[in-house]
Structures are given as C-alpha cells and as structure tokens.
Amino acid sequence: MTLPAEIVGTAGLEFFGRISASISHEIRNALAVINEHAGLLEDMTLMAEKGVPLDPGRLKRTAGAVLKQVQRVDGIVKTMNRFAHSVDEPLKRVDLAETVELIVRLFARFAAVRQVGLSPESPLTSVSVATRPFQLQNLIGLCLDYAMQSAGAGGTVKLSIAPLPEGGADIRFAGLPVSALTEAPLTGEVAQALLGATRAVVSLRAESGELILRLPAKIEGVS
C-alpha cells in the first residue's frame, strides 16, 4: 500500500514537472518571436547594404515588438520564481488571493490549449490561511483541471474566494454546465491525499454549476 505522504510527494514532482514544461514552452515561444524580429532586423540591414532604404517606422515597430517579448519573458520568469519558492517552507501562512492568481497565471497556457477562459474575480478577496502552500497549489491545479474539463471548449471558469465565518475560505470554480457535472470531483488517490494533506474538502454545487474547495483557517503545525 502506498502511503499518502508518498502519493503527495510523487504528485508534487509531477505537478512541478508539468508546470516547468509549460513555462519552458512559453519561454521558447517568446524566444521564437524575438528570434524572428531580430532576424528581420538583420535582413533589413543586409538589404540596406545593398541600397534598399531603411524604413524608420518599421525599425521602431520591430524594436518595440522585441521589447514587448522581453517584458513577456520577464513576467513568465517572475511567475516561475514565485512558484519555485512555494516549496521553501512546507507549512506557511499564505494569502489565498495571491495563490489563486499565481495558479491562474501558471495554467493560462493549459486553458488556452483547451480553449477555456479563466476569469478570476477582480479583485479576489484576500483571505489568509495557514497551510501547506505547495500541496494547496497542486490541489487548486487539480480543481482547475476538473473545472476546465467540465467547462469545455468555449467555456469560462470563474474563480472567486468566499471567507467563512469560522475562518478559512471557499475557493469557487463557477461557470460549469450542470450537464457536465456528472462525475464526482477529485476522487483519485492523488486528489484524496492532497485533500488530506491540506485538510480541505471538495464539493459540487450542481444547481449553480460550481466546484467548491473548502479550506480551513489553519492546519496543525502552522501559527
């Protein structure tokens, strides 16, 4: 029998690998755009050497496009850096709004490939919980996978955070067609182990087309 801790550890590595692969893909895409613009500048220079006049407006647009891609890569790397540091402390107090925003950014490419929109409430409600940050991110990722699968191509998953009177909060994934909510969510052993590790509970509210992840205010071992 595989222990929950082993399942969580293996799932964590898979999650980290999946996110890292997606980010490297995004960086390669940006580099490919930069490469073409730089190549175009080189082509224009070679043409200028042969007497073709340079177009200053074209040069300016191309340089601007390169700068835009550099900013894009900078944003991707900052997101990756935040994600990488989420394993620094196994138990920590985190802001759920920041965590959900981070996961939405990390899942943007997965959503685009599935042709699903991700729409976090603006601004997300800030709620502080003491938890296992990396396992929580992994769990939110599983919820998003379920929600995106349910929403289907052309759908939009709306994310919001609702504080609970007793502390803790619900993370809501709304916009799911009732007809798609036929299977119980997160029943696999990985999901169950992550729910156990974060003391979270997941439920479906079929009538409103919502998946709800309920998180306690704190788990043992965190102040």
Binding site: S24, E26, A32, V33, N35, E36, L40, M47, V113, A153
Partner: protein, 119 residues
C-alpha cells in the same frame, strides 16, 4: 514553392512569413487549425509548417486532416517543447515526421523545406 505557416503565435508566423518572402518564398499564415484548413482548401500549398501544440486542432491532428484532403502536401512540425515525445508520437503510427525546435534558424528551415519537398 507555396508555404502555409500555422502557429498560434501571430507575431511569430507573420514575421517568419515576411522573412521567407524576402527569400523569394511565398508564405501564407494562419493562427488556428480551422483557418489553416480553410486556406488550404482555397490555395494549392506545397508544404505546411505546423506548430505541434495549438488551441483547438493540434498540429498532429491538423496534419492528418490536411494530408487526407491534400495528399501531395508535405509537412514540417515546429515544437516549443524540444522533447522527443511529440516526435515519437508520429513514429508510433509508423510515420517519421520532420520537425524543428523553436526558435528556428531561418536558413536551417529553408534547407529543411527544400529537403522535405525533394523527398
């Protein structure tokens, strides 16, 4: 030679098409598989260069659809992953697919295009 470039990164395909044009190669582009299929139905392309992972129809599925409709068309895949898995997914169906990893050197791409068209 008439080329169709398909990639969901608009700036990438548009700029690459412009650079191929400077080399005397006529290149149209599309950012979705659906638009690519429509363009291929209207024009007689010799070669399609396809991104592997795209929203909607993936590059591998797009190649299958285009190959059915345009049996003479040749294909090259571009991947941002740089992993062998996408490549091997072609071999698994007893096909050897030609591919390049992004970012691409345009002279290497042109050489690959010429080699694929001669094969």
């Amino acid at each position: 030679m008439r080329i169709l470039l398909v990639d969901d990164e608009k700036e990438f395909v548009a700029t690459l098409a412009e650079r191929l044009g400077l080399r005397g190669i006529t290149a149209d582009w599309a950012t979705t598989g659906e638009v690519a299929l429509a363009k291929a139905a209207e024009s007689d392309y010799d070669l399609a260069i396809l991104d592997v992972k795209m929203p909607g129809i993936s590059g591998l599925n797009l190649e299958k659809l285009m190959a059915q409709q345009h049996p003479r068309m040749k294909f090259i895949f571009l991947t941002g992953h740089g992993s062998a898995s996408d490549y091997h997914s072609g071999i698994a169906e007893n096909r050897v697919i030609d591919y390049l990893v992004k970012p691409v050197n345009i002279e290497a791409l042109v050489a690959k295009m010429q080699a694929v068209l001669k094969s």
